[in-house]
């Protein structure tokens, strides 16, 4: 064991280290023991030891390595003691295989192998599991969130979330979902699954202030993924998309109400995140292998480059939406293109484009809100009101509800100007 570097080990520091070390430690333990629950229990035990020791003696220089060693030793002790353990022990053999032990020792010196986390991301985000299970597993195993934290983020009870996790782990074990990076032939599909799970976690984090930590977690996981798969431009694109969106997080709400991009106080945007997002987008463009996340990031990059709404390069944004639609022809992309195109072609053209996809997006409140705005700008107050009311009836979050209430109030005041 190496000597501790920090002698203070305040509670916040320990918490942060726990969160970061958890995913790494669980991933490595799953590789060693081939069993998720065993790995989780062992890591949990190691954290109990750490929470007693670290505040007094300081955080060790390689916390994840320390957790892995401690958890591994505990797990082996437990296995040797219990009957179930003896059986597993024989099955695994590997636990006491001297060459394997030597490898484990070496890893402890080097710190946990990053590939373990990559394997675990692909297991958690396997498309044979339902999306809500992908999300729960990712947050629990890689994010190190407690079952209760995951449950609260998704507005379900702790027992319900615990049950969900048990079912997901049962399927992984019984169905033999492998713990490895997919083969090249499967990689594009499987990576898409990973990226969409991370993006879903990020977007869930936008649904209310109490969920903000999900955004931080999603960005942390995306950053880890980019580090693990530096040759995948879509992973970089996702990270850039999240950073550029996150740069506007504080400007996006005011008094609990949503503030549209056009009305945001741009001085409140986070310049550091914008710079990092821009740098990633530029690197993606140089690679010349565009995909949906890179294109969405590029659109955000154009927005973030403009000091004012008027300075926005709308032609560029519309061109990027056209490109995005060619690789991802969804009605939501068509809607966003129409909203951007309104800045050049005016609300009439936008309304025609929105009406063409209105039936497909009838349950999507942003469509009704955008439609309402185009109608208002065209001076059609009554139709605008109906559209805003429909949007309000579909909106879920507090911020969206408030925003739509403001729009309706403004209509009442006779505001039909554009």
């Amino acid at each position: 064991m190496t000597a501790p570097v920090a002698a203070t080990g305040d509670a916040i520091g320990v918490d942060r280290v726990f969160r970061e070390a958890y995913g790494q430690a669980v991933a490595t333990l799953i590789r060693i023991f081939g069993d998720i629950t065993l790995a989780e229990d062992a890591v949990q035990e190691a954290f109990v030891v750490a929470s007693d020791r670290w505040p007094r003696s300081g955080i060790p220089p390689n916390p994840a390595g320390w957790i892995v060693t401690t958890a591994r030793n505990r797990a082996i002790d437990d296995l040797r003691r219990s009957a179930r353990g003896r059986q597993l022990h024989e099955e695994l053999g590997a636990v006491v295989d001297p060459s394997r032990e030597a490898r484990i020792e070496r890893r402890e010196v080097e710190g946990p192998v990053k590939d373990d986390q990559l394997r675990l991301i692909f297991t958690c985000c396997h498309p044979a599991l339902r999306t809500e299970h992908n999300v729960a597993l990712t947050l629990r195993l890689l994010g190190g969130l407690s079952v209760d934290e995951v449950a609260r983020s998704f507005l379900v009870s702790e027992p319900a979330m615990a049950k969900r996790l048990v079912r997901a782990k049962y399927k992984i074990k019984a169905a033999g979902i492998p713990y490895r990076v997919p083969e090249d032939a499967d990689l594009p599909e499987r990576l898409r699954s990973v990226l969409s799970v991370l993006y879903l976690i990020y977007n869930t984090g936008l649904e209310g202030p109490e969920r903000a930590s999900l955004r931080t977690e999603a960005i942390r996981l995306a950053r880890a993924l980019v580090e693990l798969m530096p040759d995948e431009p879509e992973a970089a694109g996702l990270l850039a998309l999240m950073l550029l969106s996150e740069s506007r997080a504080t400007a996006r709400t005011s008094d609990g109400s949503l503030v549209l991009l056009r009305d945001q106080d741009r001085t409140r945007w986070n310049r550091t995140m914008i710079q990092e997002g821009h740098a990633i987008v530029r690197a993606c463009i140089r690679r010349g292998r565009p995909g949906p996340f890179q294109l969405q990031a590029a659109i955000q990059a154009v927005h973030c480059s403009a000091d004012s709404l008027e300075a926005t390069d709308w032609a560029q944004i519309v061109a990027l939406y056209d490109h995005l639609f060619s690789v991802m022809p969804t009605p939501v992309v068509a809607l966003n293109r129409a909203i951007a195109a309104a800045e050049i072609e005016g609300p009439g053209a936008a309304l025609t484009a929105i009406d063409a996809i209105a039936a497909e997006l009838d349950n999507y409140h942003p469509m009704h809100a955008a439609r309402g705005t185009m109608l208002r700008r065209l001076g059609r107050g009554d139709a605008a009101r109906a559209a805003y009311e429909r949007a309000a009836s579909l909106a879920v979050t507090e911020a969206d509800q408030q925003f739509l209430a403001h729009l309706l109030d403004a209509l009442d005041e006779g505001g039909t100007e554009s």
């Binding site: 396997h126 044979a128 019984a174 169905a175 033999g176 979902i177 492998p178 499967d186």
Partner: protein, 123 residues
């Protein structure tokens, strides 16, 4: 090495993936034979085939006076199992590769389910 059940279901009143014309039937059978040959050659194939319709099924239930027989399948449903393979595969990803080939061959949805041997097969 694990084993997986790849099963396909037929909807009552519709064919079990078998096409209507003799020519189509021939290409269909050729595809199935080629697939089974490939399974055989790679040591994947354990057992499998198509099932006769649910009207041919008989259910036996234990009772105090010995097993009681009833005509028909277990569950009265619109969908019933129409055929299956038991295959050897290292893990789910490997099983899914074969499931994809079966879907391509028969153009019918496939359920992939881990298979656990019991009794003497377990030894």
């Amino acid at each position: 090495m694990g084993q997986y059940l790849l099963s396909t279901y037929a909807v009552e009143g519709q064919g079990a993936g078998a096409p209507p014309t003799p020519e189509d039937m021939k290409t269909f059978m050729d595809r199935v034979v080629a697939l089974e040959d490939e399974m055989e050659a790679t040591g994947t194939f354990v057992f499998g085939g198509a099932l006769y319709g649910p009207d041919a099924a008989t259910v036996l239930r234990a009772s105090d006076s010995g097993p009681v027989m009833t005509d028909g399948p277990f569950v009265e449903a619109k969908e019933h199992i129409a055929g299956f393979y038991i295959i050897n595969a290292d893990d789910l990803d490997a099983a899914l590769v074969w499931a994809r080939k079966v879907v391509d061959a028969i153009s019918h949805p496939i359920e992939v389910r881990p298979f656990r041997a019991t009794g003497r097969l377990r030894a």
